[in-house]
Amino acid sequence: MKTVDQKAWLLVLPVVVCVAFSAVLPLMTVMNYSVQDIISPQRRVFVGTEWFVAVMRDSELHDALVRQILFSLAVLAIQVPLGIALALSMPASGWRASAVLVLVAISLLIPWNVVGTIWQIFGRTDIGLLGASLAALGFDYNYTGDPLDAWLTVLVMDVWHWTPLVALLCYAGLRAIPDAYYQAARIDGASPFAVFRYIQLPKLRGVLMIAVLLRFMDSFMIYTEPFVLTGGGPGNATTFLSQYLTQKAVGQFDLGPAAAFSLIYFLIILLLCFVLYNWMLRVGQGDAAAQQAGHG
């Protein structure tokens, strides 16, 4: 009989403890809140699924969710192609490559709230470069008053802030393609588009998957920058899910509904990431697996 060494459990213990304190316990606390009505620290009432039902019927939440999904899709639709294009046009080696890498990475080093502040000033029609320029060109631009302007400004800000992340990931992916592929393409007489379509894009699949997941999760949880830039306004035009949640939990101190909402929010992100991940995996390997099944 094989002897089983139980010492392995001891080795994973540190991780279990860390994860317990950082993730499991807080999550349990939130779960606990979500099924109770916290009236005061001493008084609480068990309410079952009441908060979940209430949250699901909350029309303001529905609006925020739609706004959020549109925003995340727009972020992906712009940042991923733009990031790839940027990576393709960056120099491959020499001092130019180093210089461009530093330049591209700058926006990633700026703290979120500072990014919000920068754009708050940048977009002002009286002293901001962007706002004043647009005004001078005759556009009726006002991100504090016009919902569409506000929404677009938040989007452009996010593109400015995070496209470099996609670009850097793709750049690393591009540099990892062996020279032989480009040589073979030259021998095979491939056009530049064919090189992109059949060599670069397939080889970038791995990093693009990471980029899409990161950008999706981050944009879905966006909070600080719109909070600083627009405060969620005008009206609720740029109130995304996080901000709505914070309003509920901290602003109105509705801990129960906020907790129920947090859990739903968490599940939405988990579900969408799961779907995205599997879809991208299938795009790469789906037909190969299907063919193998067909042949086998």
């Binding site: 032989a180 592929y181 007489g189 397939p202 037909d287 063919q291």
Partner: protein, 361 residues
């Protein structure tokens, strides 16, 4: 199909000063139309550089590349109409095997029907017809390299097909099979083939003419027999053969050859040896035989190691500081370690070198 003439030198550095700066020292070389050539040499000797110059991936820093007499020095691989197969399999992951094989033809705008036909032929030749509709990404390294080979052979009108150590990743059994395929393809299609390798067996079995290179220099061009029997450069003697040629410092004294104070008697071309004074005697282990004590042209040595390789015995013997290896028949018992015996060094296949160049015979 074309005759290719090289008259060039290449340096990857912008302003080469001495020989070490050159990847390829000045050379003149011709590949005849329809010939099968091998470029043989150790890693870093410049053989891949030469191949890339022929294909147009690298432009030589000096000199010219002619295809059928036309200057192609600055032409792209596509203009030269060259096919090249690389050391590691390059496949287009998202395509099927058929898509991969068709890619070079599609890029050149060949009609669909013709492409299908040609892809079918190549797949049959490489015994992968049943894989045509499978996606290439999930296949084994062997199969992927076969696809690369197929992409190299799929165009019929190419000037030449170049192989850059294409069988490195393939396991020995399949190697033999693929090499046979390549020879067969060469016979059928009469393509000019240039094959880069550091494996002498591969080079000698594949090519009609083997070009031996070392440190950016072509040291000998010849058939397998020529390289084996009469290495024109001591590097060829050392590199080809297993084990390589024995080399012993020797000199001419009183009308005879002397090695380590022992007189071996006269050799071929005594005038040249006499003129050289000091030289190196080279003899292959296959040509070193056991001799009777005191026989002319034989040297007394002491046995240091014996190995029975199965089909032959390998003796390692010592004379002074020099080691002499000899291949002997295993039908008779191998001599014991430490035993003293005589080895025949001078014979019809003994070569003499000065400054690494052959001076006699």
């Amino acid at each position: 199909m074309a005759r290719i003439d090289l008259d060039l030198a290449h340096s990857y550095r912008p302003s080469p000063r001495n020989d070490d700066d050159y990847a390829l020292l000045p050379l003149k070389l011709s590949f005849a139309d329809g010939g099968a050539y091998a470029l043989l040499g150790p890693s870093g000797c410049g053989k891949t550089t030469m191949l890339n110059i022929v294909s147009g991936l690298v432009t030589p820093s000096h000199g010219t590349v002619l295809f059928d007499g036309r200057d192609m020095t600055h032409a792209s691989p596509q203009q030269r109409n060259i096919a090249q197969v690389f050391q590691f399999p390059v496949i287009y992951d998202t395509m099927t095997v058929a898509g991969n094989l068709a890619f070079p033809l599609r890029n050149r705008g060949m009609p669909r029907e013709r492409i299908r036909q040609r892809v079918g032929q190549i797949a049959e030749m490489l015994e992968m017809s049943d894989l045509l509709d499978v996606r290439a990404a999930g296949l084994s390294a062997d199969t992927k390299q076969k696809i690369s080979l197929g992409r190299g052979l799929v165009r019929e009108d190419v000037s030449a097909v170049l192989f850059d150590e294409p069988l490195t990743v393939i396991d020995p059994q399949l190697k033999w099979q693929l090499r046979r395929h390549l020879k067969q393809i060469h016979k059928e299609l009469k393509l000019t083939l240039v094959y880069v390798t550091h494996d002498q067996v591969e080079a000698l079995t594949f090519a009609e003419q083997v070009i031996v290179m070392t440190r950016g220099r072509v040291v000998q061009i010849g058939s397998a027999a020529q390289l084996f029997e009469r290495p024109e450069h001591s590097f060829v003697g050392y590199f080809i053969g297993s084990p390589g040629m024995n080399f012993l410092p020797a000199r001419w004294r009183d009308g005879g050859i002397e090695v380590d104070g022992h007189r071996l008697g006269a050799g071929p071309e005594p005038q040249r040896l006499a003129a050289a004074g000091e030289f190196t005697l080279g003899v292959r282990p296959e040509h070193v035989g056991l001799a009777a004590p005191g026989a002319p042209g034989a040297l007394p040595v002491q046995v240091q190691k014996t190995q029975d390789v199965g089909t032959y015995g390998l003796l390692t013997t010592r004379r002074g500081d020099a080691l002499i290896r000899a291949r002997v028949d295993v039908a008779e018992p191998l001599p014991a370690v430490g035993e003293r015996l005589w080895l025949q060094l001078i014979g019809p296949h003994t070569c003499f070198y000065r400054n690494e160049e052959l001076i006699a015979p």
